[in-house]
Amino acid sequence: MSTAIDDNVIHGEWHVRYNYSVGKVAGHFFDGLKQKKILASLCSTSGIAYLPPRAYCERSFEPCDGWVEVGHEGTVEAATLVTAQFENLPPPPYAIAYARLDGASTALVNFVRGMDLSDVPAAMAKLKPGTRIKVVFKDEPEGRITDFHYEVIA
């Protein structure tokens, strides 16, 4: 008896490992995180303070020639609240926001924690663009972007 066409599949999985070189720019940024400092790369020609930091200014095409420590508070530019499970991604619910930290020209993505997410419209009403957030660091930062998260300023 032959196998039904619909059931006749060959299973496969990919297991591929990587070691990503961090480089000088991200390395300096991560060193800052270890001291609970968030450092933006600054271009003195355009005046833009980049988060995430860049080696080159993408507006002036000049090298970023300085670093500036940004504030631990900022303003939400966009947010969402995830209530479904995506494969290999965190268990729901969780809120994600792009926020422009005080002193930065660009917005940086992170999770927003410490709020009640059980009522989606009610939670989203508290995450509208313009909402003020604060940065909360781990007690012992490791020099990774996951060392901190955002919380809405009550």
Binding site: E77, A84, R100, I145
Partner: protein, 408 residues
């Protein structure tokens, strides 16, 4: 930029789109679309001078860089062959690559073909999360759903749209798809059906989101001499343009940004140039059909506004009034049901071109719009980052009348 030669689209092919193709392999599916387009153009494979292969990330279908597997199946062996990959914009960019092959005068006939099988893996959004850099953004559960939900929330905040207004887009798309024999999802659903489907990522419910589709598409592009000999009613490719942004979405929001993330304003810049090439000065009166890359219910409004069909923040009210409806609207938006109903990512932009071309060629069957002179097809990809615009027409615009790249 415009080339030396006029470019005509003289053959289209697409397969039925569905979740799984159990009765054939990936390359056999691509071959089906190639054969359909060649037959439609009245051509033998030997008449094709070069092949452009349309394929986005290959982790969905699970054979790494599967264009290598496909070369001979789409009759590319022994010819120049290239794969184009620009994420969701891939099909739009592949069409543009084929256009440049002909417009340059180097080739007479080019086959643009591809296939995708997005549901071959259950890990699609995991794969999509891997497009973000490993250092700053990868860890925050970005994927195509969450990144566009972020844009939609910002757009709603700027212009005051409601979830119900997005739900009407889904109802219209599923209804339009009932007249498209190739569409994946279709049916008579209600606004409440959309609003009551499970929440995924605000403002999205399950019905606001496209399916994972499998299927294939192809077109044959030719120069004017071949088109005159082979095709009584070609669709001329009169405008092509593309714009690319930084991967960092956070660069595109706020007071320091020179572009607005939630407006899809890359599409505006690309449309400006494509319209200039095609002689479109008033899109609403000159273009009858828009086939949009709209995998989410929130894409149509900013895209229609970027394409100049109405002012910023106006598209939702026009939608509510039926202005984008298939037979009774001012412009038929997504008469095929669009990307909301069918999304085989690696060829979706090409399917948009196929559907837009069929409207010009009078081959859209039940969903044929009357009096079509010009149509526009879009694609978008990456971190809402790559945008393409293609303008097709029943008449051609003279080549060489414009020069230069996209200008704002």
């Amino acid at each position: 930029m415009m080339g030396k030669e006029i470019v005509a689209l003289i053959g289209t092919g697409q397969t039925k789109f569905k979740t799984h193709y159990a009765d054939k392999t990936y390359v056999e599916l691509a071959q089906d679309a190639a054969k359909l387009a060649l037959d439609d153009a009245g051509m033998e494979p030997g008449e094709i001078d070069a092949v452009v292969f349309s394929m986005a990330p290959t982790q969905f279908m699970g054979v790494n860089d599967c264009d290598r597997w496909a070369t001979s199946h789409v009759w590319g062996a022994g010819k120049p062959f290239m794969r184009i990959h620009a994420g969701g914009a891939t099909g739009g960019s592949a069409l543009h690559a084929g256009y440049i092959h002909i417009a340059s005068g180097m080739y007479r006939n080019v086959l643009v073909v591809g296939a995708d099988r997005v549901a071959e893996t259950p890990d699609a959004q995991h794969v999509l999360n891997l497009i973000w850099d490993r250092f700053y953004e990868h860890d925050f559960a970005l994927n195509t759903v969450t990144m566009t939900a972020l844009a939609a929330q910002r757009y709603m905040s700027r212009y005051g749209m409601t979830e119900e207004q997005f739900a009407r887009v889904v109802v219209r798309a599923r209804k339009n798809a009932m007249g498209n024999p190739y569409a994946h999802l279709r049916g008579d659903i209600t606004v409440d059906d959309v609003l009551n489907s499970p929440r995924v990522a605000y403002p999205y419910k399950r019905f606001d989101i496209c399916p994972r589709s499998s299927g294939a598409a192809a077109v044959v592009l030719s120069n004017l001499d071949v088109a005159k000999a082979k095709c009584s009613r070609p669709a001329f490719v009169n405008g092509v343009s593309a714009i690319t942004h930084s991967v960092f979405m956070g660069d595109r929001m706020g007071v320091y940004s020179d572009t607005e993330f939630s407006d899809h304003d890359g599409e505006h810049i690309a449309a400006h140039e494509a319209y200039r090439q095609a002689g479109i000065t008033d899109p609403s009166s000159q273009i009858q059909v828009a086939e949009l890359y709209d995998p989410f219910s929130t894409f149509q409004f900013p895209m229609l506004e970027s394409l100049g069909f109405c002012g910023r923040g106006r598209a939702a009210a026009i939608s509510d009034a039926g202005g984008w409806d298939l037979h009774s609207g001012h412009v038929a938006v997504g008469p095929s049901g669009g990307t909301l109903c069918t999304n085989p990512i690696g060829v979706t932009g090409l399917v948009r071109v196929v559907d837009a071309a069929n409207q010009v060629m009078g081959k859209s069957g039940q969903n044929q719009v009357k009096g079509v002179k010009n149509t526009v097809a879009t694609a978008a990809g990456g971190s809402t980052q790559f945008f393409t615009v293609t303008v097709l027409g029943e008449d051609y615009t003279a080549p060489g009348k414009s020069v230069g790249g996209a200008q704002q």
